[in-house]
Structure formats: C-alpha cells, structure tokens
C-alpha cells in the first residue's frame, strides 16, 4: 500500500527529535484521532535552518513528518508556508487515498510552527491559527465513492 519512499521515510525517518530552544514549535492532530505531529524549527534571518519532529501516528504520519522537515529546511518562511500537502505527498511518490489526511497534518504542522515563531516575534497580530483543534472527522473524511 505504501510506496518505497514512504517506507524508507518511515523506517529511517529524517530529523526525528527535538530542537532545544526552538524558534518555533507547532503541534497538530489529536491523540484521540490517532495522530499528533509536533514540529520544531530553528529560524535565522527568515530562513529555516533546521527542523525536527516528533510524531505519534501511522506509517504515513511518520513519513510525511520526515519529508516535511526535509522540504522546509533551507526555505524562507514564505516559501515554507507554500509547501502544500500535495507537495509532501508527491515527494513521497504518493500516499494511499485513506492516508491523504496525514499530508494535511504535515502541512498544518509546518504552518503551526511558523505561526508560533511569528507570534513569539510579534509578527502575527490576530490569532488566525486555524490549524489545530479540528474534529477527527474533518481530517479523516473518507470518500465513500472510493
């Protein structure tokens, strides 16, 4: 069901762990739903210098976390905010349909971590962090017709 690339990123995840005194930390998901991603970012001069993650979740959740950290390192915040779930999934040679929500989580984790950084640095005025606290069903919705 998983591509070789997914399995590689699952079995040998890149950037697992924490960053002490991270500049931005974002956590999305919910243990009730069976997946949580926490992403740590080291940011210097508007560029992501390092990224690490901790994930509770299925193979796809781990692999997308791993891929997401790889994708954002070296990017500016603006570039990183443009990393979509589709891009994460594509970089992994695709995900099974029922697992696409995991790539949503990865996209949201990046956003949450950057928002955290911006908030801490007064770059975010209104609180428009809509990434967290969705209901399981919103994220996991499975299309009946396939």
């Amino acid at each position: 069901m998983y591509s070789e690339k997914v399995m590689d990123h699952f079995m040998n995840p890149r950037n697992v762990g924490e960053i002490e005194n991270a500049d931005g930390v974002g956590q999305v998901g919910n243990p009730k739903c069976g997946d949580i991603m926490r992403m740590y970012l080291k940011i210097e001069d508007g560029i992501i210098k390092d990224a690490k993650f901790k994930t509770f979740g299925c193979g796809a959740a781990v692999a997308t976390s791993s891929m997401a950290t790889e994708l954002v390192v070296g990017k500016t915040l603006d570039e990183a905010l443009k990393v979509t779930n589709a891009a994460v999934a594509e970089a992994l040679d695709g995900l099974p349909p029922v697992k696409m929500h995991c790539s949503n989580l990865a996209e949201e984790a990046i956003k949450a971590a950057i928002e955290d950084y911006m908030r801490k640095n007064g770059l975010l005025t209104e609180e428009n962090s809509e990434a967290c606290s969705r209901r399981c069903d919103d994220i996991h919705r499975i299309d009946d017709e396939d």
């Binding site: 243990p31 739903c33 069976g34 509770f56 979740g57 959740a61």
Partner: protein, 394 residues
C-alpha cells in the same frame, strides 16, 4: 528483514491445511458435478456435502439436519439475526446483543434498528465480559433474540455461553452465538449449552475462506436470507460450493481431533508471551480477561505509540500481527471493542494483537520479544506523547 516470516495473526485468517486442500482438489476438476443433478457425478457431490455436514454436526453435538452451509461467517451472522428477526416480528421487535460483537452482528443489528427493531447493546466490563444477570435483566416481553458472541475476535474474551443459554431457554427466547472465533479452538456443544443458532467460518480453523455454516436448532422459526433454488433443503439457495464444503468438513474434523493437544500448546505460548511482555515493557495494559480468553490470544495496549506503525515495523522483521488501530481498519475510530472495555482513544490506537496457531513455537515467541521491545522503545522515542525525561506525559 530477510527471509524470516512468522505468522501471529490466526484470528484474522489461517492457511488452509495441506490435507484440507488435498481433500478439496478433486471437487474442482473431476468431481465437479452440481449436487442438484441426478446423474452419478451430481450424486457424488451431494454425498460429499452430506458427509461434510455430518462432520460439522458431530463437532457441535448437533444433528446433520440442523447444519446449513453458507458462504461465510458473515453470511451466517446476517442470516441468523435477520432470519429470526423477520420471522418473529409479530411476536416482538427487541433484540439483545453486546457492544463488542463483530461488525457482522453489530451492523446487522443497526440495519434492523433502521427497519423498526429495537436493540439493546449490553455493555461489558473492563475485561470484555457480560454477565448472565445483565442478559436476564435486559429481557423484555417483546424480546425475540439474544445474540452473544462465543469468543471475541480482538481481545479473546470467552463469554459465559452455557449460563446465557440457560436463561434464554427459561425465557423461551432464541439464542444465537457468533462462534466464528471459538469453533475449532474451544469445546462446544449446542445441546449442553442451549444454543439455538451458531455461526462458524472455515478460514478460522485451517479451512478455506468463503465457506461457513449456521447451526439452526430444529423447529427454529426463521426466514431465508438467500432466496433462490431449493438447496440446503430450501433454506439457503445457491449452487453448493462443494470443494469448500468438503474442505470445511475436513478442517473441523481435524480441529476437533487435535483440540486438546493444540490448546495445551497455544496456552503455553500465550501465557509466556503475556508474562514476558508484562516483565519487559512498561506502560502497557493487557486487554481482555487474563484467563477467560482464547488459548491463542494475546492483546496489549502500548501507551504513547500507534498500532499501525508498530505493525509495519514488526512486518519489516517478518512478523505478521494485528491492531485495533483505526488506521488499519479504514474507519475513523479505533476498535469499538477496545473502546467498549473502557480504553481511552489514544490507548486504543496503540494496541497489538498476537494470535497463535499450531505452527508457532516458543522460538517464535523469543523472536517476537526480541523484536518487539526495541520497536516499542523506538516508537516511543519518536512520540510527542512520551516525554520520559521531562516527566510531562499527559
């Protein structure tokens, strides 16, 4: 990785025994006649079916006329519940079952609810047990059916079937048991246990997939589920799956013969696995009753980790096992059984089911433990819920 392969998922399905396949083979290519045909080739098929029926009857303490072959355990469950419900609608519309039934029963009951029936889903205790008293209390004047599984497919808990049977009999209510996980694994006698209907499925005891049977006590009022030809004495239509029926008969015969020996072996594997995991891994919970459980069933929850990841890592080590994680079922919620015994969602997501079979050895258990301990540790290290050092685990 490598070539190592150990199968620990016998509750999901079993390989068809060599002897069973051999018994089936002639019925594909040579003795392929339709059992309804009156010429010699057809009569041979018919005879083979009846011999198989005798074997199933013998294994359950039933008479042959009370055994009806179906296309699977699911079909037997659907037929039993819908068949009794619709035939006895005039008498009443209430059904009693449990909250930990297999979906073949639960979803059938939900369907019946949408068609005007009322269903009581009895809760279970933290070990997955219902009590005969609970059942008796739930009985109403319009109760027409009690359907309670013999043994649970996830946590292995065995229900007090004989006691429930007695209550059903006293109250003159039909009693069905989904014995798909029990048949071939634990002794069953429909007479002694006062069972009126019993479902079984071939592929759970080294028979083929796609074949099951329903035991129906003589005199039970029920309608057909599969309408059509006059097969199975007019009760279950469709050209009989002769090869699979022969396979089912052979498999149940062997299972009955070997049961004592087999159980002794499985019990030893099970109990050692439970004890060793409890010794070696912290933050865990054994799911299901410690003793009233299927001889081959082990089910643990491992805090802070998710089941699918665990299975994938075990698979990379050549170990096949199963989980109640939502991720493995295509549904959103983790196993309804684990929730019913009171596990919080996040703990239910992290369950592992090991179910032993006759080819497993103590060396297999050694290998499992060796693989499992570091995998659990590794996944916990990766988990944001497991903050060992900081002692901030919620």
């Amino acid at each position: 990785m490598g070539d190592k392969f150990i199968y620990f998922d016998h509750a999901a399905t079993t390989a068809t025994r060599k002897e069973v396949v051999e018994a089936m083979l002639p019925y594909f290519t040579e003795k392929f006649g339709n059992p309804s045909s009156i010429y010699t080739l057809g009569r041979e098929s018919k005879k083979a079916i009846e011999e198989s029926r005798d074997k199933v009857a013998k294994a359950l303490g039933a008479t042959s006329k009370e055994i009806f072959f179906t296309g699977s355990g699911t079909e037997a469950d659907n037929w039993a519940v819908k068949g009794v419900a619709y035939a006895n609608r005039q008498k009443g519309k209430h059904i009693i079952t449990t909250s930990i039934e297999h979906h073949a029963i639960l979803h059938t009951c939900q369907y019946l609810e949408s068609d005007g029936f009322e269903v009581t889903y009895l809760p279970v205790d933290e070990n997955g047990l219902v009590t005969p008293e609970q059942v008796e209390k739930a009985i109403r004047p319009d109760t027409i059916l009690i359907s309670i599984m013999f043994a649970n497919n996830e946590i292995g808990t065995i229900q007090p079937i004989a006691e429930i049977g007695k209550i059903a009999k006293t109250h003159k209510i039909y009693f069905h048991t989904d014995a798909v996980q029990a048949v071939g694994n634990v002794p069953i006698n429909v007479e002694e246990m006062n069972i009126d209907l019993l479902s079984l499925s071939g592929h759970k005891f080294y028979g083929p997939k796609g074949i099951g049977a329903l035991y129906v006590r003589k005199g039970t009022k029920m309608i057909s589920f599969m309408h059509g030809g006059a097969q199975e004495r007019g009760r279950r239509a469709s050209t009989e799956n002769v090869a699979a029926i022969v396979g089912l008969g052979k498999a149940i015969e062997i299972a009955t013969e070997k049961m004592d020996e087999y159980n002794k072996k499985l019990l030893a594997l099970r109990d050692r696995t439970i004890e060793e995991i409890q010794k070696k891994i912290p933050f865990i919970k054994l799911n299901g009753d410690r003793y009233k459980r299927l001889p081959g069933n082990v089910n643990f929850s491992f805090n802070f980790i998710e089941g699918e990841s665990l299975l994938l890592m075990l698979d990379m080590k050549g170990i096949a096992a199963s989980s109640g994680s939502a991720c493995t079922s295509g549904s959103l919620d983790p196993s309804h059984v684990l929730l019913a015994i009171g596990l919080p969602h996040e703990i239910a997501h992290g369950s592992l089911r090991i179910t032993f079979g006759e080819e497993n050895t103590q060396e297999d258990v050694d290998y499992l433990l060796e693989a499992l301990v570091p995998i659990v540790e590794r996944l916990r290290e990766m988990s944001p819920l497991y903050e060992k050092d900081k002692c901030s685990c919620k």
